[in-house]
Symmetry: C3
């Protein structure tokens, strides 16, 4: 693995999931793999789980991790080719990236979409420019349209749950459901979950959302789209809850119907489904207290698994550099 930006950087999804679960069993198995190596963790947006789980994962591999909060530490980067920099940006990615590539063996970066210009966001200009100029392996800590470390974690959590509670040969039914939120959020967690579940191939996969919230088919192709949440949830084994803003009417909030927030009542037709969410979650807006505090919630475990997913990816990259 040279870079880690999307599922297409992964040779064998199931093998990567298995590797993450092995690290969960023995965190320090590869403590020498990253000796003398440094990873720079760059955040253009705030992060809690991604930042801390990546630091812990790097440390478990013996790597030194150095965090740089690009936004909070006062560094506005320019990404446009040919820009006349007479505004608020202080440094071009073409200058910053190769410098960072000299300081670190691996660079990991979180960027965010504008949610204003769909074409620009979906071109993934920021992270692609970064890869182009950094000269070292780049790991996405979430980009404008994808969040691959989250999606790997999600599959790790589903797989772990299936090992504990086998489904007797049947493929699990996995439902991704839209949920309300007070702000327009990126589509990246949903896009990414969709492309990873499809690439994995181990599930019957249904996506449910109000009309107007259709995701880019590039990611969802292969999944069943069902606009009726109750129909979608029938016999579900895993329900992944997430808000996103509209892809069609780009970045807009089209629906605030509270009925889309799951309650125990809405889950009655499921196969005692496990409920997932990437966190942070707005309680009683996206998901009800009763579900988050109930015994079928996987959200805490899921967030804990972020460490093992990051560790598996970093190990692959370190192995590829050797």
């Amino acid at each position: 693995m040279k870079h880690f930006i999307s599922v297409s950087d992964v040779g064998n999804v199931s093998a990567l999931v298995a590797k993450a679960l092995q690290y969960k069993l023995s965190p320090y198995a590869d403590l020498h793999l990253g000796r003398g190596k440094r990873i720079g963790l760059l955040f253009l947006n705030p992060s809690l789980r991604t930042r801390l789980s990546s630091q812990v994962a790097a440390s478990n591999l013996g790597m030194e991790a150095i965090v740089f909060n690009v936004d909070k530490e006062g560094w506005a980067l320019e990404f446009q080719e040919g820009a006349v920099m007479n505004g608020t940006t202080v440094e071009h990615i073409k200058d910053a990236a190769p410098v960072l590539g000299q300081y670190f063996d691996v660079l990991a970066i979180r960027t965010f979409p504008s949610l204003k210009n769909r074409e620009e966001d979906y071109s993934e200009l920021f992270i692609k420019q970064f890869i182009r100029f950094a000269g070292v392996p780049v790991v996405s800590l979430e980009s404008a349209t994808l969040h691959p470390l989250q999606s790997l974690t999600d599959l790790v959590t589903i797989q772990e749950s299936l090992v504990e509670h086998p489904l007797q040969g049947k493929k699990p039914k996995v439902v991704l459901t839209w949920a309300p939120h007070i702000k327009p959020l990126p589509q990246c967690v949903a896009n990414s979950f969709a492309e990873w579940v499809n690439a994995w191939g181990g599930a019957e996969f249904v996506i449910t959302h109000p009309k107007g919230y259709e995701l880019d088919e590039k990611f969802t192709k292969g999944a069943t789209i069902e606009y009726d949440q109750q129909k979608a949830l029938a016999e579900a084994d895993f329900v992944y809850v997430k808000n996103w803003s509209s892809y069609q009417q780009y970045g807009q909030v089209l629906c605030s119907d509270k009925n889309w927030m799951l309650t125990n009542q809405s889950l009655q037709s499921t196969n005692i489904a496990k409920v997932m969410h990437c966190l942070p979650v707005r309680r009683n807006i996206e998901l009800s207290d009763e579900i988050l505090d109930g015994e079928n919630s996987l959200v805490t475990r899921q967030a804990g698994n972020r460490v093992w997913a990051a560790q598996a990816v970093l190990a692959e990259i370190l192995n590829a550099c050797k």
Copy 2:
């Protein structure tokens, strides 16, 4: 020691003071105690001494410390049970704490009072919720009403001074005096100093402040309250200077009388008293230059001792986890 929130978490105050002074003599005596352990240092408010001394203390014990400035890194936490999170908070403590508890072996957290709602502040809702949901030992880096690492440091500094300049069997007279400030400050340093001096039992203890600045008796019981600063200071061996806002008229500034600021003149009736302050100090508002720059000031040494106090506490917690 399971958690470290107040003096009541400590079995033997004098023994903990002695342990801190031992670490001052040999900082790396327990360099292997924390091997492979991680502590998360979470700040909901800015911190200089507490942050750096905790990092150094952890490092002296071989632990990895990771800092997360919750406020500055853009993470507003919700603490109210049942909240409908449609406002500015992005994540509930019920979700964040157990995630952090999976990433770290020990969590340390700084919270702050609102100074608006006394009942809420004095319920210590924030840190108690944190303990309830984190699932790992929690160390207070200052909470709404207490600052136990500071108070342990204060006793360490008094004890160190007494060893160097013994008082011939007599108990030292320790005076806590209120001082002016331009802003309303929490009562936590004063509350905490009071309960630690009382629990320690090694001093004749007097508290002096203007009327209306009475602290909660829960912490001060056993101390003499004297409204006349000059009377209080007579024959004092140690004078601890600190501003706090009113507990009775909660969070208000009732007095700005400059005569409450100590000068060399005010100290003439003392037993050449050593002067203490937890820092940061507003010079020539809370304390005069002549005292801070004079030879009886302990403030720099006191701040240096923060390392050894934190190290003693972390060592107790690591020993209890084994």
Copy 3:
């Protein structure tokens, strides 16, 4: 070397340059030199290259580096003697510095000029107060009027280039040219480069800028001042590009003539000059894309060399402490 504030702290400039180039060849040659030592990196202003290169340099020497963003973490320091602190500053340098000196073996600090009061800025009050009160070796990460780690890096980069492309016995012609910018910037990079090139003595040194941009002669004495950029550039081997605000009409922007921005055209009379800049650079304002993206730009390599310069300086300081 006790402190590192200006070129006058350096015994032998060429030897220090050589030491940095040795570390570039073998980064871990002195991995044990800093064992058990801690450096505090304090930033009163944002920093990318300086922060990261210093962390990497410290780590290469086995030191633990702890970063504290004084500004971003909410700590406004007071530097005036005798101040009555009833304003926005929360702690006096006289109190903060000796505390930090107890936590760290070496302190490194970045301060900035006001660009309003020349006398105050040029007195270097901030860093001098810091040295006076810290009690441990202090390294400048850029001060009000100088940036010595940058200047050492600049000489390292020139020397490295000369080794690769020897000039047949002739001294290189080094030209420092002013360039436009949209904001008033400090003079420190230019001042410092001037005093280091002069102290080094290995170049024919010319400084060119519009009238009114004369630097303090204390730093430039020995260099040729030439107001005609084209004349200055003739036969140049190295062209160092940098904006600064006026020293005479202190802190003012007197010129915004775009002709001062270098293009390939302006470099035609040079000896295929290498182009340098300390970064960050405002593209197409200070320097054109065609030069920055061209094969004679040294800026990326120069920024990479920051690590080796910092490592050489830290090693000198560690050796002097032994």
